[in-house]
């Protein structure tokens, strides 16, 4: 079987198993929408300015929660599910078969990306129907590329973080601690208006704000400007490459204990 066929076959089984756990599947989808509803209800009536556009905060959250959806589906879910699979010995067993390790991981990543895309589409439909959001037709290429780059970057980082997680019990704590603070200071959960300099620097170093700003630019491009935020996409590619490097170098197929 060719590499692609192996990955697709593995993907099929991964997907089957995913939907067999309806509670987990339901909350994977409900979680970002819950945040969307809560934040727009709390802060949605004000107006803010993004890239020279004045928009309602409710509309802002479509971009923010789209970014959040990708981050939970890719970073959080991959990090947790791989750590659990590692602790249960599932990874070790797979490693004893002729299936190349990369094919197994690629299937996991593709599944996470597919879930992320589905989530973003749900967010989008929700936003268009309820919050007057719109995705300009000219932004569609930028939307797809930003989505793909972000999903790949956070999936790679999700694999990389598993190499710092000693066991499944500590996975939720470590994964949340590495991502939640960033979500609060990176223009995802709260619009970032005139942040202090250190917070600004923090946002420029880590990938989360680059991703949320790239998403915003897709929805609200500067008048007459491009929907691609190339500098941010570049930073995401760098983080993704770093994540992949760490994952390849340090990934463990056996429980670390």
């Amino acid at each position: 079987m060719s590499g692609a066929a192996l990955v697709l076959r593995q993907l099929r089984f991964t997907n089957k198993a995913f939907w067999r756990n309806p509670a987990a599947a339901f909350f994977t989808f409900a979680f970002p929408l819950l945040f969307l509803v809560i934040f727009t209800t709390l802060f949605g009536s004000a107006d803010i300015e993004i890239n020279g556009n004045t928009i309602s905060v409710a509309t802002f959250y479509i971009a923010g929660i789209a970014a959040f959806s990708v981050i939970t589906a890719c970073y959080t879910n991959i990090a947790m599910s791989l750590t659990f699979a590692r602790d249960l010995g599932i990874l070790k067993r797979v490693k004893g078969t002729p299936l190349p390790g990369w094919a197994y991981l690629a299937a996991r990543m593709l599944h996470a990306v597919a879930i992320a895309v589905l989530l973003v589409i749900i967010c989008l439909v929700f936003g268009i129907l309820l919050y007057d959001a719109e995705l300009p037709l000219s932004s569609v290429p930028a939307f797809l590329i930003t989505l793909a780059v972000g999903a790949a970057c956070f999936a790679a980082l999700g694999m990389a973080i598993t190499t710092f997680v000693p066991n499944a019990d500590s996975a939720p704590a470590i994964v949340n601690a590495t991502i939640l603070p960033l979500l609060f200071v990176s223009d995802v959960f709260i619009p970032l208006q005139d942040p202090p300099a250190w917070l600004d620097t923090l946002g420029k170093i880590f990938p989360v704000r680059h991703f949320s700003e790239a998403m915003q630019q897709v929805f609200f491009p500067p008048p007459g400007g491009s929907a691609f935020r190339l500098a941010s996409l570049g930073v995401l590619v760098l983080w993704g490459a770093l994540g992949l490097l760490v994952a390849v170098r340090r990934f463990s197929w056996e429980p670390r204990r």
């Binding site: 995913f18 067999r20 699979a85 010995g89 599932i90 070790k92 067993r93 002729p98």
Partner: protein
């Protein structure tokens, strides 16, 4: 006569973990079609050895060939020819038994039909049950089933029945016997003597990282040449005549005789007892069991008169 290459050959294998030598120079050979048991107490180096053979661990020194390949190379063509049943591994809990076997079969170039595997491991009735719903014993049988998914030439079983109740152990043994009868080479590790005795053509005892004895279970470490022990309690006041060719000693209320000629000895003993109407209470005739040999060799049962008396010639 055709001399086939051995399925496994190991020379001078060594492996340390952080300064502790888990395996200290092992030499072993397993022939094709053989059921081979590596027997030893916990922490003796069994799992380290078997995981080196399976390609999970690198080695520090020595030569290892499994089916003609170096397992360290992690070659998919090599992995396609072995089946691995690890001590504790999971599977996706939400797939069914049949789906799991189908999934794993797909990793191999020549998978064994799922229905056949189900039959072999006795899970036909559980085919459409999710893995989460299986009992411990059924789960272990699925583990073996997954090990067979690629129709391997060589199957590794790392402590296949640990945690089983006696009847589950029996049925697992029958399953392994079945597999062996189809000509597969089986390499199993265990710390159960009876398991090695029942299943294996050949046994090696490992202790503290070294092989301290190997051979067929019936003759291991000269077990078959050992003196037979005859013990009984003599009724009060009875005076035993001088019996030939046996050394006597007292063990509590019992008298114990070791003899190389039990037929002659017993004839004389029982003849005398019948003639004088003496009861030989609790009369017992024992040969050293594999367990005795094992306990002596691994040094676990070396205290007490019994162990010392029965010293094994090396």
């Amino acid at each position: 006569m055709i001399t086939a290459d051995p399925a496994i050959s190991i020379t001078g294998l060594r492996k340390s973990y952080g300064g502790v030598e888990a395996v200290r120079g092992i030499d072993l050979e397993v022939a094709q079609g053989e059921v081979f048991a590596l027997l030893g107490p916990n922490g003796a180096g069994k799992t380290t050895t078997v995981e080196i053979l399976e390609g999970y661990r690198s080695r520090d020194a020595g030569e290892v060939l499994v089916l003609g390949s170096d397992p360290q190379s992690a070659d998919p063509a090599f992995k396609a020819r072995i089946g691995v049943v690890l001590q504790s591994t999971g599977t996706d809990p939400y797939l069914t038994v049949a789906e799991t076997l189908e999934l794993f079969g797909g990793y191999y170039p020549h998978p064994r039909p799922v229905a056949e595997i189900l039959e072999l491991v006795g899970l036909t009735e559980k085919a459409d049950v999710r893995v989460t719903k299986l009992s411990g014993g059924q789960q272990r049988r699925l583990d073996v089933g997954i090990g067979l998914a690629g129709d391997p030439d060589l199957l590794f079983l790392d402590e296949p029945t640990t945690g089983f109740d006696p009847s589950a152990r029996r049925s697992a043994w029958e399953m392994v016997k079945n597999l062996a009868s189809t000509g597969k080479t089986i390499f199993l590790t265990t710390h159960f003597m009876d398991e090695a005795q029942y299943l294996a053509d050949r046994v090696a005892i490992i202790s503290q990282g070294r092989i301290i004895a190997q051979g067929p279970p019936d003759t291991l470490a000269g077990r078959d040449l050992e003196a037979t022990v005859i013990r009984f309690k003599l009724a009060d006041g009875a005076e035993l005549p001088k019996l030939v060719r046996a050394t006597a000693r007292e063990a509590g209320d019992f008298l114990e005789f070791s003899t190389a000629n039990p037929v002659y000895f017993l004839h004389e003993l029982t003849g005398w007892a019948m003639a004088h109407d003496v009861t030989l209470e609790g009369l017992e005739v024992t040969r050293p069991s594999l367990e005795d040999v094992y306990l002596q060799l691994t040094g676990i049962g070396s205290e007490g008169a019994e162990g010392q008396e029965a010293e094994v010639p090396s």
